[in-house]
Symmetry: C2
Subunit: 237 residues, 2 copies
Amino acid sequence: MSPALTTIGFDADDTLWQNEHFYRLTEGRFLELLGEHGDRAALSARLLEAEKRNLALYGFGIKGFTLSMIETAIEITDGRVSGATIAEILAAGREMLRHPVETLPHVRETLETLAGDYAIVLITKGDLFDQERKLAESGLGDLFSAVEIVTRKDAATYARVFAEHGDGAQKSMMVGNSLRSDIVPAIAAGSWAVYVPHPLTWVVEHDEEPVAAPRYRHLEHLGGLIPLISTIGAGHP
Amino acid sequence: MSPALTTIGFDADDTLWQNEHFYRLTEGRFLELLGEHGDRAALSARLLEAEKRNLALYGFGIKGFTLSMIETAIEITDGRVSGATIAEILAAGREMLRHPVETLPHVRETLETLAGDYAIVLITKGDLFDQERKLAESGLGDLFSAVEIVTRKDAATYARVFAEHGDGAQKSMMVGNSLRSDIVPAIAAGSWAVYVPHPLTWVVEHDEEPVAAPRYRHLEHLGGLIPLISTIGAGHP
């Protein structure tokens, strides 16, 4: 394998395990609870508005999502939402925080194979408490040489993390499902970036594919990662 | 100063800046909003119950506190709480997340003096997003050689953090206002521990003072820290 590459960063949610799936299920339940107050598309748009508005205050994660659902329920009912409905929203949020972790295909084998030859770093946004729970429950924790739970993923974040836990961004690769958080800033930092799309990705995470970047790659699933890495020689860009 | 001591850890909330104060203010507002449904002591006890029950799911922080207030409001009104009241609770939570940081007395001078001679590490529980905001807003960020936002503070946490960012727990000191989170586990890890009580400390953080521990100290305020450190010679326990 390539001596040029020493460190591989992995995103967590929807790269290693299912996440958005649970948000969509809960949103579905929310839309059903409030079905008499508008059509699904309009309600869903109001919820997304609240989530975006609150992002700067709540950050990413289930607790903020729950608070945004409650806020939206009050808004769209002009304050007439029942306590029972709010209680159901609270219960749905708690259920999300308890949901069992579902590791995605190829994850374990890929990490186990790479862990012998590379420093493997988990780099994820979101709620510290919930991310630590999921990592512990996934049983993957021992495969990572470092875990970085961060509040934003920009080029400076990747530069710092890959300097601290590896040999710098130039000798590192980021793997993830979010063009905006995992791919574009990792390319900007000088790293390799491997986009592994997930059928469900939050609209806030969308961005353009940096198809012209020499260190950009696109894989259908994580099973292609080890073959890809083995073709990246020291002489490549 | 002592060559035996190389690293000093500081708790954040109610050690470097006001925190519990804002929780108490918000709780006061909550109790007023729901005043017709019980006396203050009974309502306050119900809220504390909900907070403790949810701690394993929400962790520490303002978002979890807001969710627990909403849950308690529904419980104590048998679901008859109005949307307007829930909206007020949400607004109170958002206000807490925006409150300006109020640094406690002696903090800046103490950190500035120590930063030249010691590795200074911020070690705090709570919500990653909110703690990073407060650290940035405090203007103290550059004085720390490392920041560790953790989900629990036990002896293993201190052993790991002081090994990673210093020369091990034996050559380190932890400073904080929580006997349970800052003092008792730091002593158990083999560190010095300096208890600086804050008049407001959440009941969950109480514990017994380890008065018999040779490396335990109690200060009335942070202004006593530098004199104390200068008396700790290499020959001390």
